[in-house]
Symmetry: C2
Subunit: 197 residues, 2 copies
Amino acid sequence: MQRPGGRTARVRTAVLKAAEDALVEVGFAGLDLGDVARRAEVGRTTVYRRWGSVGALLADLLTDMAEQSLPRARTGSLAEDLRTNARLVARTLADPRQGALFRAVLVAATCDRDAAEALHRFYRARVEEWAPCVTEAVDRGELPPDTDAAEVVRAVSAPLYYRMLTTPDPLDEVTADRAAATTLAAAHAGTFRRPVT
Amino acid sequence: MQRPGGRTARVRTAVLKAAEDALVEVGFAGLDLGDVARRAEVGRTTVYRRWGSVGALLADLLTDMAEQSLPRARTGSLAEDLRTNARLVARTLADPRQGALFRAVLVAATCDRDAAEALHRFYRARVEEWAPCVTEAVDRGELPPDTDAAEVVRAVSAPLYYRMLTTPDPLDEVTADRAAATTLAAAHAGTFRRPVT
DNA sequence: CCACTAACGGAACAGGAATCCCGTTAATGA
DNA sequence: TCATTAACGGGATTCCTGTTCCGTTAGTGG
């Protein structure tokens, strides 16, 4: 018999919140389930029993984040939509709290199977959310009909993540707008057309 | 008085090699300095004293990698150069040994200050190595004169890293070629021109 | 309202990583 | 060749993470 009500849910919320706080403060490497339990004012045993590993905890955290992520833009202009997306991603990654969270989860995904799967689900969902911006542009005749919408959406985010990971430079609006413009130009040039199989 | 000769250098080489092996086998999360010492047939104390942390060890490893990284292509054609670069990056990341190494170092950089600095130096050096491909194309009149060469080079790698981190899909040649083509199209369209300050 | 039991939590315990101590080895320079 | 000392290495020690045990709390269904 499962008991999702009351206490169980309260504990989960408190632990996920505490895990977020801990991540922001000490980062992924310094994350310790005992510390999370203390912050959540919950027994260590509970955290170890329900999640068992840092990876599993982050996977759960990511699932939670996926549920409350923002809907896509609907400006009616592909250029505008891509720029909105790029700025949203840049702002998210630049935010001390959210950025630390994303970095931690990316890291966890390279170490832990559960976290990796949760991460892949998260990004698949995000890409699917934004893909209509592209397919609608295709329908309007702005882009070639065999354009791979998912790849276009990914192309917007890629430079931002790459910059965050490999340089000490901040993620500003200029960078975001360039990512959007680059993707748009390439999409118009047809480089995102699905290769003939 | 420093003693770089003989034994010291031998120990460093053995430890770095052992660290690489360990990384490939157990990944970043499972890395344990004691295990590295055992593999290198070196005293645990030595490893803890000279490096002290996983981050510092990886930073040293990365410095070592930077020294023996490959020179850029010189095909005389920007399209060809970018494609060569993209394929090189894709092959490196897809390689079980090198790929694991890069992922581990990226991870370490998000946790450890030393590793982060070493990583930034590494990528700055790589970008500088390949930037001439772009500036020469600018000189030939293929691209706008105020094109930001470094950004063009980064744009080639970005989609590959993003794909590796956020999807379970393999990094194949199609992906690499698309990254190069996308960058080329955008560069021609002028999206990598330095914004007027 | 009560019996049942899923889920929690404190405390004791176990295992392993990081540190410290101190004797040994081998570069270095005269 | 020899004195000096940087650097190494084995072993004891400390500290901390994760597990286990078992009594307690509080959702759930009747």
